[in-house]
Symmetry: C2
Subunit: 554 residues, 2 copies
């Protein structure tokens, strides 16, 4: 049905590291407490051939730069208290995801593109919530589809008041797909627009502008072009006034993560991702032998070389590699290697110095990496055997896995550990800790695990309910291999759907609704002939051919 | 890809009314406070040709009887305090949804089949929650897939302890689809099985039996065949002990609803569903001119002839007709016609006598009908013009609509009304009232509407935030027509996805998770070649052909 230029395996793998000096699509500037992030998409700068990024429309490459900018603002410019996002074009703020790109992309690429952009939008909200860096979308022109979804992820939206510029979600009427980057969810769940108005708005190609956009809670304010800059600055200052003073934080430069592509995967100083055959891969994080920085200031001085930060950045890149560049991998073995006492010492240090802004930022970065692990559509088995160090912060990696296999054998010393950070430092998207989610039906067991602070052996881990199965040495290798072959033989689609349902027991939040309800419906629509068939709307848009729909309602 | 026997339009439309005397698949027996519902599926009794319902597997026809039985227990046998669900076969309780049926069904049929069965499972839980009729799944044999999902919807599960009988969800490994009738959700969210165990269980073809099934919280108890009946009765009595004594309620017979198929739709005494051309239909409920029964006992004496009960039963049938027999209808105009004071008088009577068991049951029946409206994948416009009576209970129909158009014209008397029942009698699946959901961002407005008790005119409705748009007579007909033509021109898939996201602002519950997250993923999988393609698992199951999967993970 759809050609698959975007995911063509003959093209070079996607790189996720970038730097403002290499940005093709954004300009990032700083003026004291205000950062200005200006979308200036290079139409010729698409990540893949075959489409032009006209009218500030975006592809994955544009969003990789945006995600980079958001990280840099937090780490390199802790003095910032408000980010103003605007566009460099006349009359257009952002036209949303590029249609030609979507049209030429295979299903998996579309899905992973949307997932990544959804994460970036959530990172903007996370920055506002935990780092007091507020965001203002200064929409200086037409704000359509994904453009409006980007604005929705900001704390406030200012729209230029002229005869043309509207906010709009034209996906349903124009393209027969959903505003799937959080749009529908944020309209009713974040801005809490009345559902009938949301319904009208989401079917209105021309969108809504001016006073009506305010009245319907679609934007926070409007200003004619002549007063736009003044209003923008005023709103930014008002947002700043809601945040605490930052004191004298000095940023750290985000240097390139030393992660290299190698024959069967990627390799950093601490993290190795390696294909192991049979649709499997291993993802291994190795702890250093010593704690390193003992206080916040030492960690700050170490900056990107602080091993914990570097290891988390490497882990994040490995997850992206798995998702985007390794679709053929179905099952991933997770291992954390090293001395588990180093992990617990790290947690003691993190807990003691979590108020240091840099430690705080790194902790929240780790939180986002673990959430990315939760959201990665691969099967994960944590293998807890000799030499592993699933303790404290790194126990989260096991808790995020679909299964935890523990070697319980008299001949092998296997240690796990828990710290107070497992009690709240790394909440999942559903707002619960991974221990709370695991023991939803027996909350006292989460407490028992937390009370068991320090290191414990395999048998204790099993008693505490942390082992899916504990096996002895005789069974270990063979059983794991059989289990993996079995897992890797199942339909990857059924597994993806199953995991998306089992990983998120308990409450749903706006965040999980975006990935659960909205994304699942969008993925469905991305399969439907009315959208992606030869006569579907996504295929016909911008051509003289009118789409032909099968009008049977499902 | 899939042949579409089950939805073949040349076959006669599905009938939703039945009676125990006509059941082909269930036996319903009463013994004092215990009802026994025995699944005894007639393999030759499929609703559509082309498949055999072997091993107590089910299709829509089997579930229509189950839904009927659940209603009859509540209305005809209010003395019942526990329903025991078991199977009539040796060694098999229930094998789940029939695979040959799924294989031969078109996409829309599969989706609507699953939706209906999901509603039936929720009706079991509703019966337990609000009518104190508990349910015990007495699984006297293998309990697989949809069979276990049926058991999961019961309060407790007893499994026979023999060498063969297990509970299992083999959909993922065998069929490459999900246990989509609430299975995955209920395992982790209702029974709160640990997520890694749920993961293992949901990929284990052979399932789990005996003590391990108890240890993993998959069943509540087990008993060898020789003690099965004694244990079953003991558990039923223990469930009864948790419920209050019912007093001397006398049931009412659920007589056939006088709803007939006519040229362009269906017609009852109070409800008419009629195709209006252009993929549209009108669904109109007409109130009687007088209140009728004034107290609970009079309503009870009127039984199925009580106009409110009959009107709701007709409305329910019209919704099912729309979903299953009218896939080509995309947009439905909703109207309630009559004297709005009759509606408010009804609500005063309902409020005053809601403790009367029959009134209580009818109120909760209406609640379920309105939820079915929320869950119906058609676009609904409520048209509030001269002669309409969207008041109190019947205002819920407007509040469930995607849009509410109100005629505000000096020449026409238009009245709406609100009652205390709009404040909590009819919660949505998300646990909120429709007013609370509508005014999620401005909760005080829900209060303002409720405070405005009694009748009010179109202008007031608009001021109160109840009108999507108020129009005068000059615009009314033309504008509505244009809006409808526009709506009916959009992709029905995109609209279904959009409505599924906009209708449920606010919290998610287990119920909305089943329809939002689980169902949306299942619908996605029902489109994927790995499940439904010529070499997909659903197509190959039971044949000598092994499925061939595209192993790229999405």
């Amino acid at each position: 049905m759809s050609i698959t230029v975007a995911a063509d395996p003959s093209l070079s793998p996607v790189e996720f590291q970038t730097h403002p000096s290499r940005y093709r699509h954004w300009r990032l500037a700083f003026d004291g407490e205000v950062a200005r992030l200006t979308m200036a998409v290079d139409a010729e700068g698409g990540l893949r051939p075959g489409y032009e990024l006209k009218l500030n429309s975006y592809d994955l490459g544009v969003d990789i730069e945006l995600a980079d900018a958001v990280q840099r603002i937090r780490f390199e410019h802790p003095e910032v208290r408000c980010v103003v996002i605007d566009g460099a074009l006349d009359k257009v703020f952002c036209a949303g995801a590029n249609i030609q790109m979507l049209r030429s992309s295979g299903h998996g690429w579309k899905v992973n593109f949307c997932k990544y952009t959804n994460e970036t939008r959530l990172y903007l909200e996370d920055m506002s919530e935990v780092s007091d860096i507020k965001t203002l979308a200064a929409c200086n022109g037409a704000t359509a589809g994904g453009g409006y979804e980007l604005a929705l992820a900001c704390d406030e939206i200012l729209l230029v008041d002229d005869s043309n510029s509207s906010v709009s979600l034209p996906e349903v009427p124009l393209l027969a797909v959903l505003p799937g980057t959080g749009g529908l969810t944020r309209v009713v769940d974040k801005r809490m627009v009345r559902r009938d108005r949301a319904d009208v708005f989401s079917t209105l190609v021309e969108g809504i502008k001016g006073k009506k956009a305010i009245e319907w809670d679609l934007v926070d304010d409007i200003a004619p072009l002549s007063q736009f800059e003044a209003k923008r600055d005023e709103m930014a200052q008002a947002l700043i006034a809601t945040t605490p003073d930052k004191g004298d934080c000095v940023g750290v430069e985000l240097t390139e993560v030393p992660m290299k592509r190698c024959e069967k995967g990627v390799r950093g100083d601490f993290v190795i991702l390696k294909e192991t055959g049979g649709r499997g891969a291993s993802l291994t994080l190795t702890l250093p032998s010593e704690l390193g920085p003992q206080i916040g200031d030492e960690a700050h001085a170490a900056a990107c070389s602080w091993w914990f930060f570097q290891a988390m950045r490497e882990f994040d890149l490995a997850l992206l590699e798995l998702r985007i560049n390794k679709p053929e991998i179905n099952l991933v073995n997770l291992r954390v290697i090293g001395n588990p006492q180093v992990a617990l010492d790290l947690d003691a240090m993190l807990a003691a110095h979590q108020d240091h802004w840099f430690v705080h930022e790194v902790l929240h970065f780790a939180k986002r990496v673990f959430k990315r692990l939760d959201m990665t559509a691969k099967s994960f088995f944590a293998l807890v055997d000799g030499g592993t160090a699933f303790a404290g912060t790194f126990l989260e990696i096991a808790l995020a896995a679909d299964r935890i296999y523990v070697l319980d054998d008299a001949e092998t010393d296997v240690q796990l550990g828990v710290s107070m950070l497992n009690g709240g430092a790394y909440p999942m998207g559903n707002g619960l800790t991974r221990l709370e989610t695991r023991f939803l039906g027996e909350p006292e067991k989460a407490g028992e695990v937390l009370a068991h602070s320090g290191l414990f052996d395999a048998a204790s881990a099993d008693e505490l309910g942390l082992a899916t199965e504990a096996m002895d040495e005789i069974d270990w290798e063979d059983e794991i291999r059989v289990l993996q072959e079995e897992r890797a033989s199942y339909s990857p689609d059924a597994l993806t759907g199953m995991e998306a349902n089992l990983r998120y027991a308990g409450p749903e939040t706006m965040e999980t609704k975006i990935f659960g309800r909205l994304t699942a419906w969008q993925n469905w629509i991305f399969q439907r002939p009315n959208a992606v068939g030869d006569s579907g709307a996504l295929q016909c848009y911008g051509t003289p051919v009118r789409p032909e729909f099968d009008y049977n309602r499902t």
